[in-house]
């Protein structure tokens, strides 16, 4: 029997319409808007000023702390201004605007398609290269990668897990990446193993991608210690804690880091970015973005520069006249955006355009105590209890019932027959509980 995680989970329709489609190089945008906060942690600090001429790949903003990431120019051109721009957070935040002129790359960046397999760098040098390239988790959570590769004292990594699950419906960017750049991704994986000093790596792929499983299993034979693990299709298998449970059968304790289970999980896209950073000296300035949904006529996978407006990619895919809702990310964990002009960022794995009738929420009814949400919760929480706690501001109840452990996967919302916005309220409770816990510590 195929492996999967042990608690909860759901199985929404896959709708992977762009699966098997090749990666199309998206046009370079006329103007790139590069937000300074594309990752979790401190925003980057700009190192360029208005009027500066840049080549693609040049550093434009330095990490603003340890938990932060560098940002590089995705296009060549001149800096128009450093101003506030609307991004996927729904608020205006500082960003660097670059007017594109030509397509020149910084010296020292290897753009040839030739695969470089050998690496003689020491672990510290690999981590330094990853840090320089500004890589942040590309599955959507955008946690700076070099931080994950520096386990806190007292913890040691035993296995690297590559998250190629792509359990979100509609999205196919990791799938497309594996088919096109499987070997590079495996080299990236071996670099990650080297950086952490571990001898084992597992690549988790859901069994709805048999072509990727077959291809990578064949290629992985040449790499020592890397195995491909086919997983039963189940959402949210791509959650860090769920994937660790599925592959190594260990559960991460409440409040503990995944490293406490001896595993470091990295996204497939991140592994590829690590390869490019270390072997090709290429910083993270472009990523694969799936554009899909009923609101576009031709779902596709694009290789888009960071800072490309979502509108440009949607129009390339045949945006219909009257789209309903635009979601950055997948339908389960993605976020509806308030404007089509927000830019692609490091964590933007897909753009889902829904038709108007799919976009509307159904009216909320009373809870009928069916406990479907309790069965679905992959963290073993009681969503309906937490929602009530949030509604009545009973933060102590929320805390003792582990609101802070919610991974915001939305399974509870999905299964609720009364269309209750469970996650909306739990997110409030989670924020409040974490705030209370922080103030208690200080």
């Amino acid at each position: 029997m195929q492996k999967t995680f042990r608690i909860g989970g759901i199985h929404p329709p896959a709708n992977k319409w762009s699966a098997g489609k090749p990666i199309v190089k998206a046009d370079i945008p006329a103007q790139a808007i590069v937000p300074l906060a594309q990752h979790i942690g401190a925003p980057a600090q700009p190192v360029v000023k208005k009027g500066d001429k840049l080549k693609a790949g040049a550093l434009i903003a330095k990490a603003g702390g340890f938990v932060s990431a560098n940002i590089h120019a995705p296009v060549s051109g001149s800096v128009l201004k450093i101003d506030e721009a609307l991004d996927a957070s729904g608020y205006k935040r500082p960003a660097i605007f670059i007017d594109t002129e030509g397509d020149e790359w910084d010296e020292g960046i290897d753009l040839s398609p030739e695969i470089r397999r050998d690496c003689s760098l020491a672990p510290q040098e690999i981590i330094a290269a990853i840090n320089r390239a500004g890589i942040a988790g590309m599955g959507g959570a955008t946690f700076p990668t070099h931080v994950k590769l520096t386990p806190p004292p007292g913890h040691t990594a035993e296995i690297v897990i590559i998250n190629a699950v792509e359990c979100e419906p509609f999205l196919t960017s990791d799938h497309a990446l594996m088919l096109a750049h499987g070997e590079e991704m495996l080299i990236g994986t071996s670099l990650l193993m080297r950086a952490l000093g571990v001898g084992k790596a597992a690549i988790g792929i859901e069994s709805n991608k048999p072509d990727a499983i077959a291809l990578l299993t064949r290629m992985a034979a040449a790499f020592e210690g890397i195995s491909v693990v086919p997983l039963k299709v189940r959402y949210p298998q791509g959650g860090e804690k769920q994937l660790i449970d599925a592959i190594v059968r260990r559960q991460v304790k409440s409040g503990a880091l995944p490293i406490s289970a001896g595993a470091v999980v990295q996204n497939a896209g991140t592994a590829f970015a690590v390869y490019e950073a270390v072997q090709k000296n290429k910083p993270l300035v472009e990523r694969i973005v799936t554009v899909t949904g009923r609101g576009v006529s031709a779902p596709a996978n694009y290789l888009a520069r960071i800072g490309t407006p979502l509108r440009q990619l949607m129009e390339a895919s045949g945006l219909t006249a009257n789209p309903g809702k635009i979601i950055s990310g997948g339908p389960m964990m993605g976020k509806a955006v308030a404007s089509a002009d927000i830019p692609v960022t490091k964590g933007c794995s897909g753009i889902l355009v829904l038709s108007p009738d799919e976009s509307r929420r159904k009216p909320m009814r009373n809870c009928i105590r069916c406990a479907k949400c309790v069965d679905a919760c992959p963290m073993g929480l009681n969503p309906t209890l937490l929602m009530n706690a949030a509604e009545f501001a009973a933060w102590d109840t929320a805390e003792t019932n582990y609101a802070a452990d919610c991974i915001e996967c939305g399974s509870c919302n999905y299964v609720c027959p009364s269309n209750r916005p469970l996650l909306d309220h739990i997110r409030i409770a989670k924020g409040k509980v974490m705030e209370i816990a922080r103030s208690r510590k200080s």
């Binding site: 506030e84 609307l86 957070s89 729904g90 608020y91 205006k92 976020k335 509806a336 955006v337 308030a338 404007s339 976009s359 509307r360 929420r361 909320m364 916005p421 909306d424 309220h425 997110r427 409030i428 924020g431």
Partner: protein, 280 residues
């Protein structure tokens, strides 16, 4: 037969009563008699505006305190605090009556919608997701968290403007709405003579251009009002003007010079040229 039953049950009753009487005497908790009196004087609204969980907690805080400084029942105001002070034989702090004002005037005509929100009707949830249905990320979301928080029915969202309105007579300045608003739009201000007050009804900290584009009634931070004010009551920071209600003398000159109409005057008689000149 029936007599035996009455005797047994009645006897048990008398025995238990006597026992309970002595036990209650033995374990009696001595309570300050003033506590009940103070509690009686309080409005019993249990709104939490004083910062204590309910009126009885506030009463015991008053009774145990060395002086009444810093203790205030905003609902009862000077009246109730005077009574409490008399009971406890202390002097009450002087209090300026206050009232809640909503610092947003971005009604539907002034602030064009740029998108449509279809999520849970709750300001806190909506503000966590994004800036709001209009171009202004600082303005009122209109889902009525303040209305739900008010225990006195003093604030309600007006469906025609989409903005909450405060009923001066009902508002007790308990501050529940101030805490409920995720955009920090509600401020407790000095009530002013005859409830007259002037305030900047905007919290938009964007620069002038984007602010004006998002809302016709936005404060663009031009500083005209600050220059006009003779009493140094108006300060300007982050592209936003603020009128200090303690320094403001209600001359209304700032209202006249504001190019966007962001400064609002309330409860004043209609303007006449004559009064204008007399005041200046």
């Amino acid at each position: 037969m029936i007599l035996t039953a009455i005797c047994i049950v009645g006897g048990t009753g008398v025995l238990c009563a006597t026992l309970l009487y002595f036990i209650s005497k033995k374990f009696e908790v001595a309570e300050n008699p003033l506590l009940a009196e103070v509690q009686e004087a309080l409005p019993a609204a249990n709104c939490g505006g004083c910062g204590y969980p309910g009126c009885s907690a506030f009463a015991s805080a008053c009774v145990n305190a060395a002086s009444l400084d810093g203790l205030l029942c905003p609902v009862g105001g000077a009246d109730v605090m005077g009574k409490v002070a008399a009971i406890l034989g202390m002097a009450a702090e002087k209090v300026e009556p206050r009232v809640a004002v909503v610092r947003c005037n971005g009604h539907c005509d002034a602030r064009p919608r740029t998108n449509l929100y279809d999520g849970t009707r709750n300001c806190r949830i909506a503000s966590q997701l994004y800036g709001g249905e209009t171009g202004c990320a600082f303005g009122c979301l209109g889902h009525g968290d303040c209305e739900a928080a008010c225990s006195f029915g003093a604030i309600a969202v007006n469906p025609s403007t989409g903005l909450p309105e405060v009923d001066d007579d009902k508002c007790t300045a308990c501050g529940a709405c101030v805490k409920a608003c995720p955009k920090n739009l509600i401020e407790l201000r000095r009530r002013g003579p005859k409830s007259r007050r002037i305030y900047v009804s905007c919290m938009n900290r964007d620069k002038g251009g984007p602010a004006r584009k998002a809302c016709a009634n936005a404060c663009i931070g031009c500083g005209k009002c600050a220059k006009e004010c003779a009493f140094e009551a108006i300060s300007l920071s982050n592209n936003l003007a603020f009128i200090d209600s303690l320094k403001c003398r209600l001359c209304r000159k700032c209202v006249a010079v504001c190019p966007t109409g962001a400064i609002i005057e309330l409860n004043f008689p209609p303007r006449k040229e004559a009064t204008e000149t007399k005041e200046s």
